[in-house]
Every structure is written in structure tokens, then in C-alpha cells.
């Protein structure tokens, strides 16, 4: 696909000046919007005395790893080590992402490339589910999880968040455009349905599920509400919950807070950075045709 910055940029002086202004404005905006993130990185490496300097200073003079050591090394009085929260976040998020990618792709394949009864109605229900706030289902989901005795377990943090309408929708958009002939030729060669799905279709729609991995990871890694209602035991808490607990503006905590914020935000930003072009390529298919 060609870039669509299509209008012909005339080489006139006025135009050139206009573009310079646009670039400057956008650059200033970028600097402003990234300030809090830059601040997290800087503060995470600030030694204690620099945190207490008045007037407050934005940049760091003598960077240190002390804040990370404090955060991870149990200098905190709590019983549960910080590494446990990291594990909880990482484990639940990975489990959700892996299951949702598999289950949504399979579901979309079954619905689009094969037939199921009431397929159209089911698909419309899924589209409808894109359109309301997910908080509506929290109370009954909580009751189900409670009834299944899954509160304060990893199951509670994983199972209710696997079947997401958006993920199904995204995979369906891609699978729909996948040529039937390729699937058919696989079947001719004697491949079973599972082989056709896993060896022919999935490798060919890699951009779609890589995007799904990225978006789903971001969403679930940052989740707060589910973790808040499904866990009360301190050892089951995830990073976002803990960040809210240790929040507060005391300056002494600021270094550890920033180190924590660094650990929470760095993975998602790195992941997104690595995958951006792939995600953009996929998002083209994300429109809803009304």
C-alpha cells in the first residue's frame, strides 16, 4: 500500500514555512505529552537527596539503582515481596493473551469458514458487545466467579477475560478475507481441519494475531478493575493494584514509586514500540461497517 500523503507539496517558500511551523508545533506537543513518561524514567534513577531538593528539579545529576533495589529487595515492610506482584501480572497477562489469541482465532475460523447454527445472530451479538461498557457484566461475572469458589485465585483473573468481543471481531475481519482455495487445497492434500487451521491459515494471518497479542497484552497488563474486585489477598495482587496502594505523594516514596511505575510502563511501551508497524498494518481492518 502506498502512503497517502498525496497532495503535491509545492516547493514554494510559503509552503516550506508552513511545514516548518507544523513540524515545530507537533514536536512541541510531543515533548509536552511525553513529559510524564520522561519524568518517570528520570525519577526512577534519582538518589534520595535529589528527591528532597527544593525547588524541585526535573533532571537527575547522579543516577542510581537504589530505588529499584529498595522496591525489589524487601526493604519495604510488607510480607509479600514485590517480585511476587511482577510474577502475578506477568503470569495472568500471558495466560490471558495466549488463550484469547487461540480461542478467538479458532472461534472466528469456525464461524466464518465453516457453518454453525444461528451464525449470523451470534455474530451480531458479538458486534453488539463491542458497543457497551464492560462494567455492565462485572457484577454477574463476580457472582459466577464467587459461586465457582475462584475468588483470590489466578483463575478469577484469567477466565472471565479470555472471550473478548473485540478480539473475535479482529480475527474475523482477517479470516474472512482469507482465500478458501488455499484451505481447500490443504484439505485435498489430506490435512485434517486442525492442520488446515494451524498450518495453513494461522501462519498466513500472522499480522492479525501479533496485533492481537500486543493489544491484548496492553489491555490486560494495565487492568485495574478486574484485579480490584477478584482479589483481596495481598499475595494475589497485580502491579497496578499495588501501584495504587503505595500511591500518595510523600516525597520519600517518590523514588520507589517511580521505579515501580517504570517497571509497569516499560514492558508495554517496549512491546508497542517493537510492533507498531505491524499493529498499524492490521488496524486498517478494524472499521465497523454500519
Amino acid at each position: 500500500m502506498k502512503k497517502s500523503n498525496s497532495f503535491n507539496r509545492k516547493k514554494s517558500k510559503r509552503n516550506y514555512a508552513n511545514w516548518t511551523i507544523v513540524y515545530m508545533l507537533v514536536t512541541v506537543l510531543v515533548i509536552i505529552t511525553s513529559l510524564p513518561l520522561v519524568y518517570v524514567i528520570i525519577t526512577a534513577f534519582k538518589p534520595l537527596d535529589e528527591l528532597f531538593i527544593y525547588p524541585p528539579r526535573f533532571f537527575v545529576k547522579r543516577p542510581t539503582m537504589r530505588n529499584f533495589a529498595d522496591l525489589l529487595g524487601g526493604l519495604s515492610s510488607s510480607v509479600v515481596p514485590f517480585t511476587r506482584y511482577i510474577f502475578n501480572s506477568l503470569f495472568t497477562t500471558s495466560a490471558i493473551v495466549a488463550s484469547t489469541v487461540l480461542i478467538s482465532s479458532m472461534g472466528a475460523y469456525g464461524l466464518v469458514k465453516h457453518k454453525i447454527p444461528f451464525g449470523n445472530i451470534i455474530f451480531n451479538i458479538i458486534i453488539g458487545a463491542l458497543m457497551f461498557s464492560p462494567h455492565v457484566k462485572q457484577i454477574p461475572s463476580y457472582l459466577v466467579v464467587n459461586r465457582l469458589k475462584m475468588l483470590d485465585t489466578y483463575w478469577a483473573l484469567i477466565i472471565p477475560r479470555i472471550a473478548v468481543a473485540y478480539n473475535f471481531f479482529l480475527m474475523k475481519q482477517f479470516i474472512e478475507g482469507f482465500p478458501d482455495e488455499l484451505l481447500e487445497s490443504g484439505r485435498m492434500d489430506g490435512a485434517g481441519e486442525w492442520k488446515v487451521f494451524s498450518r495453513i491459515m494461522m501462519p498466513n494471518i500472522k499480522p492479525a494475531w501479533i496485533t492481537l497479542i500486543v493489544l491484548s497484552f496492553i489491555l490486560n497488563w494495565n487492568d485495574f478493575f478486574n484485579a480490584l474486585i477478584y482479589t483481596s489477598n495481598q499475595s494475589m495482587k497485580v502491579l497496578t493494584l499495588v501501584m495504587q496502594q503505595v500511591g500518595g505523594t510523600s516525597i520519600a516514596r517518590q523514588g520507589a514509586m517511580a521505579a515501580g511505575a517504570f517497571l509497569v510502563t516499560a514492558p508495554v511501551i517496549t512491546m508497542y514500540m517493537a510492533m507498531q508497524s505491524n499493529v498499524l498494518e492490521t488496524m486498517v481492518h478494524s472499521g465497523i461497517k454500519a
Binding site: K2, S4, N5, S6, F7, V22, T33, P36, Y39, Y54, P56, I103, S104, M106, G107, A108, G110, L111, K115, P117, I122, A129, L130, M131, F132, S133, P134, V136, K137, I139, P140, S141, Y142, L143, I159, A163, N222, F225, L228, I229, L239, T240, L241, M243, Q244, V246, T249, A261, T265, V268, Y272, Q276, L280, E281, M283, V284, G287, I288, K289, A290
Partner: protein, 311 residues
């Protein structure tokens, strides 16, 4: 597979049995592939929506059985619950600002950035705040809004001479909602930005070339006559996510102001839902709040569908 056993158990007449078996044979692959998703989707999305509607018509405290209460919950909600009305007001102010602002901003920024060199660098820098955790970044923003003179914003305002005393940004009911709005706008590029940015690239080049011949002169005319009409599906998707996110405000509100917030200045619909459901365990009443939110977002979603329907 379990579907077969269910099908066989349910009916007794042999012909129906035959038909179901035939149906099963025809649909078996589709069903087997989609069953895991559909079962989880029904248990944790479809059934809960209807359960919430049912619960909203009852009193239910999780210890005794739900008792039918008719529309009492809704009546109390809108006539007696002063705090809910505050939550409603806050949420509408919040959504009325951050929804449209975030939506328009993400479109305009995507449109501009799409035309720049270093497009990937700029879009990464703009989108980065949206991939971070709202709760975590709110706690970081709290240092900017810190109530003492160590807060960067107070410090700056005092230096410039706009204020003499530090402002209690997160404790003074007058400012809390605005702090939440500012942080949300900062994070609000959301999925919309990505979808728009991708959408621009999906519009075929020849349309612009043809239009140039037909007298479309500048990029604003291109935007109005070609880009916007071609982007309807993406615009609709962006609108739907913006609505759902704006009315579902919770994480940032809690991280900034806590529950309950001073004078309920940071109280939102979802905060109210959380308060009644998971602190007081009045599930019936909380479900009424949930159903109200459901109807509100769904209705606004339908309106967006009308606006952006591809003719």
C-alpha cells in the same frame, strides 16, 4: 463431544434425533472450533448482561435470595440518591469533555502525523501515554499536582506569580474533576488514533488523483470530500470506543481522588457501581447502576452507527 450428548439427551422422538444428528454432522467442525470462545463469551458476557437486568429488579445482598423489587432500585437511584446524581453530573461533564476532545484530537493528530516524515516516531510518541496503565500514570501525575510546593505545577504557578498559596489540586472539590480530565485527555489517544492512522493508509491513492482532476485543490478539501467519507468504518469504531471509555471512567478517578472522594467531587457512575456492588454488596441496586450505564452507552453507540452508516 459434549454437544452431541446434550443433543441426544434432550429429545425423545427418533426422527428429531436423526435430524439433530444430521445437523450435528453438518455443523460439527464449526461448532468444535467456535465452542470454546462461544461458551466463555456466553457465560461471561451474554448471560451476565441479562442477569444484570434481572438483578436490577431485585434486592440482593448475596446472603439471602434475591427478592423481587420491581423498579424500586431505579426509582431510588434517580429520585433519592443524591450521590448518584453527583456521579451522573461528574460523569457527563467528564465524558462531554474528554470524549469529543480525545476523539477529535486523535483524528487531527493522526491526520497531521500521517503527512509528516518520521511518521513512526511521532505516532509512537503520541500514542505511548495511551498504552500505559491509567492507575500507575495517575500516581505519577499526582507528583505534578502535589499539593505542597514540591508539586511542579504549584511550583511553576507560584513562580510565574499566578497564585500565592499552593492549590490543593487533589483534595479541593473544585479542582479534582479537572485533574481527572487533564490526565484522561493526556491518555485519551486510545485505540482511535491507531485505527485512524491505519485508515488513512487504506484509502486508495487514485481517488486523490482523480479528485485533483475534478478540482479538489487543497488537503482540506481532500479531507472533507474523500478522506472523511472513506473513513466511515474507522470513524464509527473510534466513536464507539471513545464513548465506552469516556462513560466508563474509573481507574483515574480512583487513583486521583480515592473512594469516596472529598465531597464526592471525583465520584463517577462506575465508582458508584463499585461502591454499592463490591463495598456494600447491594448487588440489586448496583446492577441498576450497571444497567443504566449499559443502556446509555449502547444508545449512544446506536446513534453513532446512524451517523456513520455507510450509504
Amino acid at each position: 463431544m459434549q454437544e452431541t450428548s446434550v443433543a441426544i439427551n434432550v429429545n425423545k422422538s427418533p426422527e428429531l434425533d436423526q435430524r439433530l444428528l444430521k445437523g450435528w454432522y453438518k455443523y460439527r467442525i464449526g461448532i468444535m472450533f467456535s465452542a470454546p470462545f462461544l461458551i466463555l463469551f456466553f457465560v461471561f458476557t451474554v448471560v451476565p448482561v441479562f442477569t444484570a437486568i434481572f438483578l436490577s429488579l431485585t434486592n440482593y445482598n448475596m446472603i439471602q435470595k434475591p427478592s423481587f423489587a420491581g423498579i424500586t432500585n431505579y426509582r431510588l437511584l434517580f429520585t433519592d440518591d443524591r450521590v448518584f446524581l453527583i456521579a451522573l453530573k461528574n460523569t457527563f461533564i467528564f465524558a462531554g469533555i474528554t470524549g469529543p476532545l480525545g476523539y477529535v484530537m486523535s483524528f487531527v493528530m493522526a491526520w497531521i502525523i500521517n503527512q509528516l516524515h518520521f511518521r513512526n516516531v511521532y505516532s509512537l510518541a503520541f500514542y505511548a501515554p495511551s498504552v500505559t496503565s491509567a492507575v500507575t500514570m495517575s500516581t505519577v501525575w499526582l507528583f505534578f499536582f502535589s499539593s505542597d510546593r514540591y508539586g511542579f505545577i504549584n511550583d511553576a504557578l507560584i513562580r510565574i506569580g499566578i497564585i500565592n498559596e499552593p492549590i490543593l489540586w487533589t483534595k479541593d472539590p473544585e479542582y479534582i474533576l479537572w485533574v481527572i480530565v487533564i490526565i484522561s485527555v493526556w491518555m485519551s489517544m486510545g485505540t482511535g488514533f491507531l485505527v485512524f492512522l491505519a485508515g488513512f493508509q487504506s484509502i486508495p491513492q487514485y481517488l486523490y488523483e482523480a479528485a485533483a482532476i475534478d478540482g479538489i485543490k487543497n488537503q482540506f478539501m481532500q479531507l472533507w470530500y474523500i478522506t472523511l467519507p472513506m473513513m466511515k468504518p474507522q470513524l464509527l469504531f473510534g466513536a464507539v470506543t471513545a464513548i465506552v471509555n469516556a462513560f466508563g471512567v474509573f481507574d483515574i478517578a480512583v487513583a486521583v481522588a480515592g473512594i469516596p472522594s472529598p465531597n464526592y467531587a471525583g465520584h463517577t457512575i462506575v465508582t458508584h457501581l463499585y461502591d454499592y456492588a463490591f463495598i456494600r454488596f447491594q448487588m440489586g441496586y448496583a446492577s441498576a447502576v450497571a444497567v443504566f450505564l449499559f443502556i446509555l452507552t449502547f444508545y449512544l453507540g446506536r446513534i453513532s452507527m446512524k451517523i456513520f452508516s455507510a450509504r
